[in-house]
């Protein structure tokens, strides 16, 4: 049911872990629905480039794979460019997802946005086009 790329990112997820004193952290989803993603960003203060990105995910195979791919896609990008990493981009990079798993890629997009939002809030900057995170673990 999953593409080889999804299986690869599930079996060998990239960038799993935490970043201490991260520049931005975003947690989305909730345990009730069975998916929680947390993304940590380390952003260069001068260049606004994402130097490091890590994730932790509670969820199905697709949730893990989309988180892993999302961290790869934002790494090295500026916080403004990172906004362009959409769920579609994550899905395409994974050679597609089964229809019932599309929400996982949406969650990955939201997790990036939530981490960027956290960064923007902490640094009192505005990232144009970025909206406050929709869902948070605190919603429960």
């Amino acid at each position: 049911m999953y593409s080889e790329k999804v299986m690869d990112h599930f079996s060998n997820p990239r960038n799993v872990g935490e970043i201490e004193d991260a520049s931005g952290v975003g947690t989305v989803g909730n345990a009730k629905c069975g998916d929680i993603m947390r993304i940590y960003l380390d952003v260069d203060e001068e260049t606004k480039v994402i130097k490091d990105c890590k994730f932790k995910t509670f969820g199905c195979g697709a949730a893990v794979a989309t988180s892993s791919m999302a961290t790869e896609l934002v790494m090295g990008k500026t916080i403004y460019e990172a906004l362009e990493v959409t769920n579609k981009a994550v899905m395409e990079a994974l050679d597609g997802l089964p229809p019932v798993k599309v929400h996982c890629s949406l969650l990955a997009e939201e997790a990036i946005h939530a981490a960027l939002w956290d960064y923007a809030q902490k640094n009192h900057i505005v990232i144009e086009g970025l909206e406050p995170p929709k869902a948070d673990i605190g919603d429960e």
């Binding site: 079996s11 345990a31 069975g34 932790k56 509670f58 969820g59 195979g61 949730a63 893990v64 673990i137």
Partner: protein, 394 residues
């Protein structure tokens, strides 16, 4: 061949070679329609009747009380819709439980849309339907009680005898979905006061696409499949002769070996449950410890999600199942795990292992070793575990 440890026997079982052998003549040489008059067909007809007699014998029933169906779902649909259809003048109230198989639950929901009323009884934390709650739910217009014999997810065996006695005392038709129980634990329809019972052959090493409904003589229900005069004109359709012969052969073997298999499976099951609960932190057994199918293990592991676990186990050749949302095709985890009171996030982390009599302790050691690695790895990736550890430092 790659390693394969099949622990999903509640989903389906392997066809026994000796069962296939009994089926072969009716797949190859004798392709006749047993309803035909010539002797070529009468041979097949005899095979069908012998099969009926064998199954009736195992249940303590009469031959004419066994009706062949396409499987468990048909049996459940027929019993419930058939009773509702024929007894609607008497009343339109049905009693069932919250942990039934969807073949029962969705049939009841369908009937609700047709104007029937259904009481879905709660279960306790082990998944047991209390006979007292059944009795309390009975109304003057109650026409049917349908309570499963044993639960397919958590393996809990229901107090069928007590519920049957209550139904019989109140003169209400009693159906039980025995798909997980028949062929695995003793079932006698008279001792247990069962009026209708659905079973399916592929759950006890018979072929797929065949099952039966036991219907007590005198119990009147409507017809589900209309057409030819097969099955005493109550269930139309040309007999699935190889299926029927295979089912009877599998049922006979299951009955013969039942005592031995129960002892063997229970031992391996309990060994595995104990090992997992002792060696994996934050794990809990779902279902009743004592009133439990001999082959069922269902455990929740906190902080992780079931589908991820299944994929990782699959990579080691282990076939298992889970009640997580991702395996159900909806956002909610299993209705059974929610009904026993588990919060969503714990229900998502369930693992069901259903053994066969062939499963050994060595198989389970291999499986448990991989479960431990899997859980540890998924927890190391889990934000829920991270939060938990931060809140509860060692």
């Amino acid at each position: 061949m790659e390693k394969l440890i099949y622990l999903d026997n509640a989903a389906t079982t392997a066809l026994k070679p000796e069962v296939l052998e009994k089926m072969m003549p009716y797949l190859k040489e004798n392709y006749s329609n047993p309803s035909s008059i010539y002797s070529f067909a009468q041979k097949a007809n005899k095979a069908v009747n012998d099969a009926r007699s064998a199954i009736a014998g195992i249940l303590g029933a009469k031959e004419r009380e066994i009706y062949f169906t396409s499987g468990g779902s048909e049996g459940d649909n027929w019993a419930i819709k058939g009773a509702a259809d024929l007894l609607k003048e008497k009343g339109k109230h049905i009693i069932t439980s919250k942990i039934e198989h969807h073949a029962v639950l969705y049939t009841c929901e369908y009937l609700e849309r047709q104007g029937y009323e259904v009481t879905y009884l709660d279960v306790d934390e082990n998944g047991i339907v209390s006979p007292q709650s059944v009795e309390e739910a009975i109304r003057p217009d109650t026409i049917l009680i349908s309570i499963m014999f044993a639960n397919n997810e958590i393996g809990t065996i229901e107090p069928i005898k007590e519920i049957g006695e209550i139904a019989s005392k109140h003169g209400i038709l009693f159906h039980t979905d025995a798909v997980q129980a028949f062929g695995h634990v003793p079932v006698n329809v008279d001792e247990l006061h069962i009026d209708m019972l659905s079973a399916s052959a592929h759950k006890f090493h018979g072929p797929k696409g065949i099952g039966f409904l036991y219907l007590r003589e005198g119990a009147k229900i409507g017809t589900l499949i209309h057409g030819g005069a097969q099955e005493r004109s109550r269930r139309a359709g040309t007999h699935n002769v190889p299926g029927i012969v295979g089912m009877a052969a599998a049922a006979s073997i299951a009955a013969e070996e039942m005592e031995k298999n129960i002892a063997k499976e229970t031992q391996v099951r309990d060994y595995a449950i104990n090992r997992i609960l002792e060696e994996v932190p934050y794990a809990r057994l779902n279902g009743d410890r004592k009133n439990r199918l001999p082959n069922n293990i269902n455990i929740c592991f906190r902080f992780i999600e079931g589908e991820s676990m299944l994929i990782m186990l699959d990579q080691k050749g282990i076939c298992a199942s889970s009640g997580s949302a991702c395996t159900s095709g909806s956002l909610d985890p299993s209705h059974v795990l929610l009904a026993i009171g588990l919060p969503h996030e714990i229900a998502h982390g369930s693992l069901r292992l259903t053994l066969s009599a062939e499963t050994t302790k060595e198989d389970m050691d291999y499986v448990i070793d991989h479960i431990k690695v899997t859980i540890e790895r998924l927890r190391s990736m889990s934000p829920l575990y991270e939060d938990f550890v931060k809140k509860n430092p060692v």
